[in-house]
């Protein structure tokens, strides 16, 4: 038996992943255990969990793979400072103490932490992979393709910000790279900053805001900020940005170009200007990835595409790549951000370092991304009882019946079943569910349950076999990483007045039979639910379909704004008691809010720092 532990840590989204004889056994992000969003610390709890899931201890692990190379990153920093000098002195003064005290000695730090679990830990077991190779490995090795082009795009790793690799069998080689400071991820983050959202977590909001605006500034961005070539390669004009040397993402010249200052988070209202800016950067991002994928398909003649890296979480762009038909099939790693690097690093050791063959699994090597903790019915009951919860334990059939009925009655249902998801999306393991036919569901969930901005859209979970009847998509999207339109015949004809509406006013208009998940441009971030990867969630949607004729549910992550998705039964109960979720279903236990002890209600809204 060969055991490989993958670790990503110390930058953002720490995580651990475990391979046993090449099979992905467990993977989880540290934030879920520490309850600190995007936790970047050493993932002690995630490592504990993945080892316990396999019933192993650290001394039984053969290799440990860290997802990037700190020395290479340090080299990039030094060279950047030299290149921009004398600018960047302030950033240099802030960055170097961190490096000289901690990050340069990352290997020693890892060894010290690992020796807490295994006193005899042999430092030779520790290997370091390149950041983008880890992303590429996480995208290619678990994919259902024998051969594929692998595209990774993110903010920055060591030097690379974009890479193109070709994978065949167990071979994976990076062939092209775009280097820092030219980065599509950082361009998107610059606009995230400019529109007043938090860099590295607010990018989803920019994507969600984009359909409310018009891409009025697309040409200006293409003309001034980014020199985009026909093959999708690009360079950014650094005179508009400040991230390479300063303490902000953009500078005065950037603000002057668009005519407004940087929006102050949470204090200045979002206006049509910000929506147009969001629409413009989204359009530019799509233009870049579409040019890249078109040119790669032509150059290599390989029909499959795998993707990872933070930009691959831009599901609107992913949907457009699919519809452009440059590639026959696309597979995106569900943990496309840095957390997935832990998995990629482990997979690189197995296939590249140890040369183990790769068996292509057409059903799903990622096991639906349900790779986190599982709670038995007995543990669930014990934990709920210890929280003071009032619940009833029923049979699975009864649980499905009651949950589906609550959904059909328009209630918000907390749904906690099976193993927790790995990656940023809730896929029916730790989800809040609702009826997509309800006209008020989107507003209710945003304002009373999630405590987040009213403009943010919700995603649908749909039975795989019914997806083509409700959406233009006719394929798999098990990880909610593809956006497509609601089927034409399900849409509602707009009146002339409704068509004239601008920006956020569009939000209140019913657009289809399933308004809660139909965004203002009729798009939806689709999750197809498959019987073989999540039978219980599949059965619930089926039950809902029997009652209502609709095989779709609203699926949003089980958390509030700024909180990591719930991991344990206790987390779920706390979130349930702190929000307007009306029914909580945990395993075969059912909890009604009205039945709970009102003394257990806590002020949850203020508990987490806004993201």
């Amino acid at each position: 038996m060969t055991v490989i532990l993958g670790i990503s840590a110390f930058y953002h989204d720490s995580a651990a992943a475990l391979l046993v004889d090449g099979e992905i056994t467990a993977a989880a992000q540290e934030e879920r255990f520490t309850r600190k969003k995007h936790d970047s610390g050493y993932p002690a709890l995630a490592i504990d969990y993945v080892l316990s899931e396999a019933g192993l201890s650290l001394d039984q692990v053969d290799q440990i793979a860290f997802y990037d190379k700190p020395f290479l990153k340090f080299e990039r920093l030094l060279e950047t400072y030299v290149a921009f000098a004398p600018k960047g002195l302030k950033q240099f003064g802030m960055a170097m103490p961190v490096w000289l005290r901690e990050k340069l000695f990352l290997k020693d730090q890892l060894i010290k932490e690992l020796r807490k679990l295994d006193k005899q830990f042999d430092a030779e077991k520790l290997l370091f992979g390149e950041h983008h190779f880890s992303h590429a490995a996480s995208a290619f090795y678990p994919s259902p393709f024998e051969e594929a082009i692998v595209l990774t795009i993110d903010g920055v790793g060591e030097w690379a910000t974009t890479t193109v690799a070709v994978g065949k069998g167990n071979k994976l080689d990076i062939l092209k790279e775009i280097h820092f400071p030219h980065s599509l991820g950082l361009l998107y983050s610059a606009f995230t900053y400019y529109t007043g959202f938090r860099v590295n977590s607010g990018e989803y909001k920019v994507m969600g805001l984009a359909p409310y605006g018009e891409p009025k500034y697309k040409d200006l961005i293409l003309e001034k900020l980014i020199d985009l070539k026909e093959d999708g390669s690009f360079r950014l004009d650094q005179s508009y940005f400040n991230y390479a040397t300063g303490l902000t993402m953009t500078n005065r010249k950037f603000s002057d170009l668009f005519g407004e200052p940087v929006r102050k988070p949470e204090s200045f209202q979002l206006t049509q200007f910000h929506m147009d800016i969001a629409a413009s950067v989204q359009a530019v991002t799509e233009e870049v990835v579409l040019r890249m994928t078109k040119s790669l398909a032509k150059e290599y003649g390989i029909p499959n595409l795998c993707m990872a890296g933070g930009v691959s979480l831009n599901c609107v762009a992913n949907g457009k790549i699919l519809r452009s038909k440059s590639f026959k099939e696309i597979w995106v790693q569900p943990a496309a951000g840095d957390a997935g690097g832990a998995l990629g690093a482990a997979l690189s050791v197995w296939h590249k370092e140890l040369g183990k063959p790769r068996k292509v699994n057409s059903s799903d090597s990622m096991k639906g991304s349900y790779l986190g903790p599982l709670y038995s019915q007995q543990t669930i009951e014990e934990e709920l009882a210890s929280c003071g919860a009032r619940f009833s334990s029923v049979t699975e059939e009864e649980m499905l019946e009651q949950a589906a009925q609550a959904l059909a009655d328009g209630k918000a249902v907390g749904w906690f079943q099976g193993r927790m998801e790995f990656g940023p999306r809730a896929l029916g393991g730790r989800s809040i569910l609702g009826d997509p036919r309800s006209e008020t569901m989107q507003k209710t969930l945003n304002l009373k349950v999630k405590y987040r901005e009213s403009f943010r859209p919700f995603a649908p979970s749909v039975l795989r076999e019914d997806v083509a009847e409700w959406f233009e998509l006719d394929g798999d999207s098990p990880y909610m990483l593809l956006v497509d339109q609601v089927k034409q015949e399900r849409r509602r004809q707009m009146s002339k007045d409704e068509d004239q509406l601008f920006g956020i006013q569009k939000l209140n208009v019913k657009r289809s039979e399933i308004p809660a998940i139909t965004h203002v441009d009729y798009s939806a971030r689709i999750q197809t639910v498959h019987q073989h990867t999540n039978p219980i969630y599949h059965a619930l949607i089926n039950k809902f379909k029997e009652k209502t004729g609709c095989p779709v549910l609203v699926n949003t992550s089980f958390n509030v704004r700024g909180e990591p998705i719930v991991c344990s039964v206790k987390d779920a109960f706390r979130c349930f008691m702190g929000t307007d979720i009306e029914v909580l279903v945990v395993g075969c236990c059912i909890l009604n809010k009205k039945m709970q002890d009102s003394l257990l209600i806590e002020n949850y809204k203020e508990k987490y720092k806004l993201d």
């Binding site: 990153k73 030094l78 170097m96 103490p97 490096w99 000289l100 005290r101 900053y193 860099v199």
Partner: protein
């Protein structure tokens, strides 16, 4: 000591000998900075370093 060896190996593999004087200077100044500061956690907007 193993850290210095590894850093030297890295510089050899990458053929970035010109970085050596910078690293040496930084080690000197770094020692000063480290000695004069309580915490080295930088509240930075984006962790590109």
């Amino acid at each position: 000591m193993s850290f210095v060896k590894e850093l030297w190996k890295f510089i050899c593999v990458r053929k970035k000998f010109w970085l050596l004087p910078i690293i040496l200077m930084m080690a000197l100044f770094g020692a000063l900075i480290v000695l004069s500061q309580g915490s080295a956690i930088a509240p930075f907007i984006y962790t590109i370093f």
